[in-house]
Symmetry: C2
Subunit: 421 residues, 2 copies
């Protein structure tokens, strides 16, 4: 692999150089590269699987837990899913060149505000080889050069996939630097990547809290932190309790390991006794560990609920545990959500339009749901076609990070010799 | 002043509390507060001028240079200009509540993407009391609570103006915490302000490089750095040279102390000898110190041009000095601008549509001009009605920071019990 011997700085500079050409590549050329990438993924699946088998055979992998090993493992089906994802991205509208504003200024200048690529996007990720392809495809489509820094556990898989990406880029006559892979593993390389001021325009971490914390310490270039989600489901006094039971169950249990799953169930005191025994019984049966405040434990009836500690309200369990609280009012629920939430996804169950309006106005989060599961916060579900993560920041991008969120803007002003008086 | 005895943290928490109410304040109420503010500025002008006189009489002020003393000084006219600015802001469209997207998802969820306030915006600034009023008005209109941290040199003026702002806020039945003033002067207080994670949503520095550097060291909350501008004017081979002469002169001389003025003049080798003697003569006559590369010095003819050092190409003079270079081609000009520019405002003079297109495509800056002075990069000139600064960052806001740039978005999703399969 040519990439393996480059320094991080060399890779970033190559990406920057490529980014200038990529910024003015036509939609047709970029989509051509993506279609070729999808083809090559199918054609070279055997190479990728061999590389992946070598990664999995590494003795260090035995020390990973089952979930991480599963994320690292590829098979024909997963490769086909990557290829399908790339074709989906090829089918999305190109954000680059979108005319956002156009007007004639008092001075006579013709102002246009255009969407343009960011330039160089670096993605640092853990042992999930599919991220290599997903993120490269999103960056290519949005006209950005990408610097990929994966995990050393997936080094062979990532290298095999990056080779395919670079071949597709080359076949489309786009510059090789459009997709650079740097070796993962060393924290010093993470620092080198995250301090490329004026070269790397954005770093996106795709990984756990450890990776984010490591990045926070060293980064001097902008970072878009993918979100942790301490999400709440609040059952209002006027809720349809059957609907609330299905939604709360789904928000907790359907995929508890992801950031948009619920960690806290808040129930209005008016419906606590009628609602809690049913839903808590369902959750217990599904294997969810339950803790709660005194009122919730009492209202739970015969369902055993442990005593919640203060820290439970601020914990993203990312697993089969839920904390349950009883609130006296809509305002108390809003206050609780704003104090303990992480601004990701928050839901109210209510038949009252007024309560729904007040909750969606006052809750400070990227996505606020009325009568639906928090689990829908996702670029695909939101119709963005794809996502590179989900932002709980308020600046630049809030919510799923799709193609548009990988762009910036440029004002172009055309005159006839205007000068400022 | 009640504000004078509060800690920075207390002021920020009061602002956060107020921000929740402010976020759902109607346009009518916010504009009412702004109109009242304009009235009070006129009514209380004498109080403000007394406070300003006391600031100016402080013995420390004598040590300030003339330009800084001038910025600190208020008179009736400047107060009237502040009031007029506030009324202008009252007349602008309210960005809050703007519906940015609306669609029905495959799941049946009704998705809306709404513009919402950021929450709490902190502005740190130097001895320019007008910033107190300008920024408070922009934040009020955009539904944000503001924490103002001015310079101790302007403490009395700022306090007098903040009192008026708070009275206007109160008269409109908006919460007092909507505008908080904290004492300036201590760097420890700057750090306290810039580390209010989860409370302050954005810090905007309005000041010189020293202030920005101090903030960069300590800030953990997002900061939008107002730009430095190493701006270029490039005279292409196909330029209308008479127009180029007027535009280059204006870009340098009309107000050399601001960030959108030009610091470098690049001239295509094809027109260097015919163009340079005229424009350089104009500039010299206006009092501009000239330095240049060997080719420019030779093409300058009888106009004396000093020898440019390497550092000149990267210096924002912010004064009556200009560096002049000759380039061999459009591509060399683009490369020079992208290497040395700060991404603020860049201009090409050309009659060639093709050259103009290539320059505006390839130059990586917030604003790119064809046949006009760089001096137009400004919220007022761009029709934003006002600005709180100018961003050369690529994330969130690029170019003038107006009302919209002080907002974020929120997805609101309304369902009928949807769960994720």
């Amino acid at each position: 692999m040519a990439t393996a011997t480059r320094t991080v700085t060399e890779a970033c500079l190559a990406a920057q150089h490529a980014s200038h050409e990529l910024a003015s590549a036509s939609t047709e050329v970029k989509d051509g590269a993506l279609r070729r990438l999808a083809e090559l993924l199918e054609e070279r699946a055997a190479d990728v699987l061999d590389a992946n088998a070598a990664d999995l055979a590494d003795e260090r992998v035995a020390s990973l837990d089952a979930a991480l090993r599963d994320r690292l493992a590829l098979d024909r089906e997963r490769i086909a899913a990557m290829a399908a994802g790339v074709l989906d991205i090829a089918g999305l509208p190109d954000p680059v060149g979108e005319l956002l504003e156009e007007r004639t200024l008092d001075s006579g200048l013709e102002l246009r505000k255009l969407r343009v690529p960011l330039g160089v996007v670096a993605v640092v990720y853990e042992a999930r080889p599919n991220v290599t392809v997903d993120c490269a495809a999103l960056c290519l489509k949005s006209g950005n050069a990408i610097v990929l820094r994966g995990s050393s556990y997936a080094a062979r898989s990532n290298a095999a996939l990056a080779t395919i990406v670079r071949e597709a880029v080359d076949d489309a006559n786009l510059p090789q630097g459009a997709a650079e892979l740097v070796e993962g593993g060393e924290r010093s390389e993470l620092a080198e990547l995250a301090t490329q001021e004026g070269v790397v325009d954005l770093v996106i971490p795709r990984g756990g809290e450890g990776l984010k914390a490591a990045l926070k310490k060293v980064a001097t270039v902008p970072v878009m932190y993918a979100a942790s989600g301490n999400c709440h489901v609040y059952v209002h006094a006027d809720a349809d309790l059957e609907m609330a039971r299905r939604v709360a169950f789904n928000a907790k249990v359907q995929r508890p390991g992801v950031c948009n799953s619920a960690e806290t169930l808040l129930v209005d005191v008016a419906v606590a006794e009628s609602f809690l025994p049913g839903i808590l019984g369902d959750l217990l049966e599904a294997g969810v560990e339950l803790v709660g405040d005194a009122e919730a434990r009492q209202a739970a009836g015969e369902v055993p609920v442990g005593e919640a500690g203060n820290e439970d309200w601020d914990t993203e369990y990312l697993g089969m545990k839920l904390v349950v609280g009883v609130v006296d009012s809509l305002d108390e629920a809003i206050e609780h959500v704003n104090r303990h939430g992480t601004g990701h996804s928050e839901a109210i169950l209510t038949s009252s339009n007024e309560a729904a309006q007040r909750f969606t106005d006052a809750v400070d989060a990227a996505a606020v749901y009325v009568n639906a599961s928090t689990r829908f916060t996702d670029g695909f579900e939101f119709g963005l076609g794809a996502e590179i993560g989900n932002s709980t920041q308020k600046l630049h991008a809030r919510g799923p990070i799709g193609l548009r969120e990988l762009t910036t803007t440029k004002y172009v002003l055309t005159g006839t010799g205007q000068v400022r008086e």
